[in-house]
């Protein structure tokens, strides 16, 4: 059992989201940084669909009311367990009564906490993720607040081999960053596949998509990121019929300033799509803060598939290695 002692708004229970219910107008939802949440679950040997807590605002303070092994991944939020600092992407034991304090990250935006077995909230249409816009899933369909208590799903008790815990190589080090020829230091490069309306944009706009910097504006959240840059224009302003869209789609309203729809984004839309950020790079957007610069680089299906495989390999290896770092409680007692 975890008790939230203090939290700003907008932190919520998330898993990998809903799949298979788009016919009811349900988008995916789920963790913005899916790689970080999956890594946290892999560190604990949890089911990969287990729910954790997504923190996007800080500071947050929690108390463990029962002993558990927990893992913290995503943006490094200088976590302290009863005052002892934790390295980033770390798993360790918490004893009943201990307090975990998460502070605002210096880099990145979202941190993920997983506990053994995963957070126990009732699944709604196949997922424990919180869909805050429509108010369902997660804990009572809302963000967490002080006083909330979250139980963990049952899991075989275990301890860490080393009391200090064990860690993972963060995804940003383990996964090869996409390359963009003119990107500057600290800019975030995302791989994009051109979408249905790409050819409707004039030549200068198509060039701008790939060559210009795109600044993340303050109007950016789990629903989507609004970007600022050189305006993208179509040769002819035709209205679109509404159609299903996926997280990562780069829509261009007539203003010419693109919007990337994300986890809690609309499941359908009618603005023209110039491209779609590949699934394997969505976690990079999740860690982009307002003011950061995004760069887009064209990508083939083969490259996208290779990027997916790289993530899958990274997570599988992490899961295997983490297995050596835990011990069943019975064994330890003997």
């Amino acid at each position: 059992m975890i008790e939230i002692l203090d939290t700003p708004p907008l932190n919520s229970v998330q898993d990998l989201g809903r799949l298979g219910f788009r016919c009811h107008g349900m988008g995916r939802s789920g963790a913005m940084d899916r790689v970080a949440l999956q890594a946290a679950n892999a560190l604990l040997g949890n089911d990969e669909t287990a729910a954790g807590i997504e923190f996007q605002l800080f500071p947050a303070v929690l108390r463990f009311h029962a002993g558990t092994v927990f893992a913290l991944t995503g943006a490094d939020c200088a976590a302290r367990l009863d005052g002892h600092p934790l390295p980033p992407w770390w798993a360790m034991e918490a004893k009943a009564g201990q307090e975990l304090v998460l502070s605002p990250p210096q880099h990145g935006l979202r941190s993920y906490l997983a506990v053994q077995g995963g957070i126990d909230v009732p699944p709604v249409f196949g997922s424990r993720s919180t869909q805050m816009r429509d108010g369902f899933g997660g804990l009572a369909g809302r963000a967490l607040c002080a006083g909330d208590r979250l139980a963990a799903m049952p899991a075989p008790p275990c301890a860490t081999r080393d009391r200090a815990g064990y860690g993972a190589l963060p995804a940003s080090f383990a996964l090869a960053a996409p390359v963009h020829e003119t990107a500057g230091e600290g800019e975030i490069v995302l791989r994009v596949i051109a979408a249905a309306e790409y050819e409707q944009f004039d030549e200068a706009s198509r060039a701008s998509l790939w060559n210009m910097p795109w600044k993340v504006t303050s109007q950016s959240n789990r629903q989507g990121y609004r970007l600022a840059g050189s305006a993208l224009q179509r040769t002819e302003l035709l209205e679109m019929r509404s159609h299903g869209i996926v997280p990562g789609v780069i829509q261009v309203p007539p203003s010419g300033q693109p919007i990337i729809q994300l986890a809690d984004g609309n499941s359908a839309g009618g603005y023209p799509k110039i491209g779609v950020v590949i699934e394997a790079d969505l976690w990079r957007i999740a860690q982009a803060a307002p003011g950061n610069i995004l760069r887009f680089v064209a990508c083939t299906l083969e490259e996208a598939r290779a990027a997916e495989r790289e993530i899958a390999t990274y997570l599988a290896k992490l899961r295997r290695l983490a297995g050596y770092c835990r011990l069943p409680i019975m064994e330890k007692a003997a």
Binding site: A196, E239, S242, V246
Partner: protein, 233 residues
């Protein structure tokens, strides 16, 4: 302002990122085409490598397994199967919805009327005349996208999304109409939208119940008729 709609001469399948395909049907927006989309949707859902499907307005989004599906192969298969799908009526129900046009929640009505050089009463009459068909699921659970808008009310979406009240919003976007869900308790009062809010439905039945296997009150193919309860100027 833009005024045209894209009409394809041939069906088209495009990539929507690395793990989704979008089939856009040929021809103008039409009910028989949509009946085929609904049927195609049921078939494609069974295919290996497909993890989700979502009908749009004369279109179908097919979400694929990012590791195992072959988008090129499935794209070819979609184009091959689409012409073989036949139209056919499905059973449907009718829901009548009372609307307060204009006022707060319908604040785009005066500008929309001015854009069409019609008076507000004429716009309301045109909007309330047809029987609308639920064509596709909406952006969240609820009443979905409606077909049947009188094309004299065709209105391009806002250039930049605007904040509009949530809760039974009656709106027009391009050549389409829609009806928003009632506001959720504790949910946001305003949401960004590119659509023109022309009214609100104050006494809506709850459009979805998540405790049900089929959560939406209305299914694809069901019909809605708007009743003019009042016009606020």
């Amino acid at each position: 302002m833009n005024s045209g709609v894209i009409v394809l001469a041939e069906p088209r399948v495009s990539l929507c990122g690395s793990a989704a395909l979008l089939l856009d049907a040929e021809g103008p927006l039409a009910l028989p085409t949509q009946e085929r989309i609904w049927r195609l949707s049921g078939e494609v859902r069974q295919w290996d490598g497909v993890v989700d499907v979502q009908p749009g307005m004369n279109s179908l989004l097919v979400v694929l397994d990012p590791l195992d599906a072959d988008p090129a192969l499935l794209s070819a298969r979609l184009l091959e199967v689409w012409p073989t799908i036949e139209a056919g009526r499905i059973a449907s129900r009718l829901l009548e919805v009372g609307v307060v046009y204009g006022g707060e929640g319908g604040q785009d009505l005066p500008a929309l009327a001015a854009y069409h050089r019609l008076d507000i009463g004429a716009v309301v009459a045109l909007h309330a005349a047809p029987e609308y068909v639920v064509f596709a699921p909406g952006v969240s659970p609820g009443f979905g996208y409606l077909f049947g808008l009188d094309q004299r009310l065709f209105t391009p979406r806002h250039k930049v999304p605007v904040m509009r009240p949530v809760g039974g919003r009656v709106a027009i976007g391009g050549g389409q109409a829609n009806l928003g869900s009632p506001r959720m308790e504790g949910g946001p009062a305003m949401q960004p939208t590119g659509w023109h809010a022309i009214g609100r439905a104050p006494a809506l039945p709850v459009p979805f119940d998540l405790s049900k296997r089929e959560p939406n009150l209305l299914s694809l193919g069901d019909r809605i008729r708007f009743r003019i309860d009042r016009i606020e100027r």
